[in-house]
């Protein structure tokens, strides 16, 4: 017999913070809440189908799709905005001790798969096995995407530091 599902409230409380962080990394703080609402409403509708093996990866998969939908909708919208502006807003990274606001803004300029992998790993706080589930790829490929993303970010930051 399958293990019974935890009460939805417990599931929501356990995953709300990493999901919101991940969505901020994907769509910026201004739109993260909308995506968050859509993600958990969809999760609640589909809750019976949660297999319980990787609940966080499961909800992150939904969140990633909502973020992709969001980017597509915005690309079709009347006034497509340039990619990183909201990351640079003062609300971009509140709370943490002296975070570098440019860093996540640079993440938003990575190729989509690297961006999602970095977001899942460091904002969503997922293990590589879970990143793999959420990206629907092998664990090895998930590691590679994160690693390549990191290298690219480091290169970019070396440049800006030298320029400054």
């Amino acid at each position: 017999m399958a293990k019974p599902l935890p009460p939805f409230q417990a599931f929501l409380d356990e995953h709300r913070q990493p999901v919101l962080s991940f969505l901020r990394s994907m769509v910026g703080p201004d739109d993260a809440d909308d995506c968050f609402q859509e993600t958990f409403i969809a999760a609640m509708r589909a809750y019976d189908r949660l297999d319980g093996q990787h609940p966080r990866a499961w909800v992150m998969t939904i969140a990633r799709h909502k973020a992709i939908d969001h980017h597509r909708a915005r690309a079709r919208g009347p006034e497509p905005r340039a990619e990183p502006p909201e990351q640079a807003s003062p609300r971009a990274n509140p709370g943490a001790d002296a975070p570098d606001p440019e860093l996540w803004s640079a993440v938003s300029e990575l190729p989509p798969k690297q961006r999602a992998a970095i977001g899942l790993r460091f904002a969503g706080d997922l293990a590589y096995a879970e990143v793999a589930v959420a990206l629907d790829c092998s664990e090895e490929a998930a590691r590679r995407s994160v690693h390549e993303g990191l290298k690219r970010l480091r290169g970019r930051f070396a440049e800006t530091k030298e320029a400054a």
Partner: protein, 211 residues
């Protein structure tokens, strides 16, 4: 060379983690909005809240049909919520507004301004026709009175089933509101209570049946 590379990557990872955080407060606020939205979309099958009483915190859970489960102070609420999740629906959220009327009536009961509950009940956690009959009988035992297990069995239509009547009381998912505390042993002994005998004694004193 590669060692400094590794160090650089590790520093970058730390900076990413430090800069990523949506605060816990913001996440909690987003989750609270989500629960309201889920309710508006008809997805919140069961809503619950806690209420403070002189005996400790009680849990009240309701569906669209009515109050489905009351958790007594002695129970572990996480276990109660898991039971509801498994037996009613896992779409269970904390939404005090939906059980406001039940909270108000429980508060009034303990303040002494209410003797009868006027809440719609959801009987789906009560299984078996005899159990159902016994609990139905109990809803008609008024504040300030008590009956014996034998009387409960008799009124439920099986005069000799006083043990089964006791077990029906013990399995009552909506204690206090379905007043299983108003059933005592022949001879006036308390008998058991899911919330503990002390709670039963408190309730019967509160209702004036015990001095």
């Amino acid at each position: 060379m590669s060692e400094t590379n590794e160090k650089g990557l590790a520093r970058l990872e730390r900076a990413l983690r430090a800069g990523a955080g949506a605060g816990e407060d913001e996440a909690a606020a987003a989750a609270a909005r989500l629960v309201e939205r889920a309710d508006a979309a008809g997805l919140a099958d069961v809503a619950y809240a806690t209420v403070d009483t002189p005996l400790g915190s009680m849990l009240l859970a309701g569906t669209d049909r009515g109050l489905v489960r009351v958790g007594l102070p002695r129970e572990t609420f996480d276990d109660v919520l898991e039971e509801i999740s498994a037996r009613v629906s896992p779409r269970l959220v904390e939404l005090p507004r939906r059980v406001d009327e039940a909270r108000r009536e429980v508060e009034q009961y303990f303040e002494g301004s209410r003797r009868e509950f006027e809440l719609p009940l959801d009987w789906r956690l009560i299984t078996g026709s005899f159990r159902c009959n016994v609990l139905e009988v109990l809803t008609k035992v008024p504040f300030g009175e008590a009956i014996t297990y034998a009387e409960a069995a008799e009124r439920a239509g099986s005069p000799r089933a006083h043990r089964a009547a006791g077990s029906a009381c013990g399995s009552n998912p909506i204690p206090l509101v379905i007043p299983c505390h108003r059933v005592v042993r022949t001879g006036g002994e308390m008998g058991g209570y899911g919330g503990g005998v002390e709670m039963k004694r408190y309730l019967l004193k509160h209702e004036g049946w015990l001095d």
